[in-house]
């Protein structure tokens, strides 16, 4: 019973550890903005702590660099379960514009498993608070993949798989009536 209560309290008081593994500090500043009085993240019970052992959530920003990959992995392993990882900014979500640089290994998920992504360059403090609210279940996720497919094609299309060659003759299997 006490265990249940403790698990329910997890969402009410998240202690955050901020780990910057090679970013430009833009997302750093936006994260610190989220803790200022204007966007106050402390009203959700979020507190910034200095040691990964005290923290529940690790806010990663910056791509995973070759030099800090080891340190990031150790900081992740130092956090006690249950834990969440937020990847803040385009660099942490997908590598950013530096994804093919010699010093960058890639996005943060190449090293540690990420729970929530907050893209942006840098993401607005409201976007970061929105990400936290999605993680806490206060609001619903708003984004979904968009897909567009032309269903009606004006001329018959020939897919290479459906063309067969017989000598000099190229036969189209499913010829539609024009």
């Amino acid at each position: 019973m006490l265990k249940n209560l403790c698990q329910k309290m997890f969402g009410r008081s998240l202690w955050v550890y901020h780990a910057n593994s090679g970013g430009c500090n833009g997302c750093d500043i936006e994260v610190l903005n989220a803790l200022t009085p204007y966007y106050d993240a402390e009203r959700f019970g979020i507190k910034l702590v200095g040691s990964p052992r005290h923290a529940d959530v690790m806010l990663c920003q910056g791509p995973a660099m070759r030099s800090t990959a080891q340190a990031l992995k150790r900081a992740y392993e130092a956090m006690p379960a249950p834990k969440l990882v937020f990847a803040i900014g385009s660099c942490a979500c997908g590598g950013g514009v530096w994804f093919d640089s010699y010093a960058v290994l890639g996005p943060v998920e190449k090293i540690i498993p990420v729970s929530y992504y907050v893209p942006g360059c840098p993401p607005r403090p409201e976007a970061i608070i929105y990400g936290v609210a999605v993680a806490l279940g206060i609001v619903d996720k708003k984004i979904a993949p968009l897909e567009f497919k032309e269903l009606e094609l004006p001329i018959p299309r020939y897919h290479p798989d459906q063309l067969h060659g017989q000598g000099e003759l190229v036969v189209y299997e499913k010829a539609e009536k024009l």
Binding site: S90, P119, E126, I128, E147
Partner: protein, 174 residues
Amino acid sequence: MSLLSKLEETMLCLKAGRVTLPYPARPALAPEQFRGRPIFDASKCIGCAGCANNCPAREILVFDVCQEIRILKYLGRRCTYCGRCAEVCPEKAITMSRDFETATNHNGDLGQRLELFMSTCQRCGRCFKPASALEELKMKGYRFDDLQNERWIFRAQARLEGDPVVDDIAIELD
């Protein structure tokens, strides 16, 4: 460290009241020129892949299934919301919306995929040769450097009778 100054400081802060924006409760609108998530409008897109060529993060991928079908895939993960794709698009099919609430727990949610039908040239199929890098460097239009004072003059628009030279190098954008 006087006591009075601290009391004054407290009074000032208390007078400001509570400045916290009630953000998730009340929606926040981004300012006018905010560059949020780009939205690809498939009805206007002609499949020229100008956006893909221009993206600094190589975020837009282009794949030709056959001569008539071109797939444009915007991954959305590395996008820095710079807006170059929207600026370059000849049909204005890409709009930088003001949407910033894009947090998700799955990376694939950020992608947009367009499968487009490409018309073919009636005579030869689709033939199109883009300008080479050298051709792009050429300054087109009329040239009128200052021969007497031996100075370069750049103009974006070709004009024969131009304004008098203001400075050493006068770069004017139209």
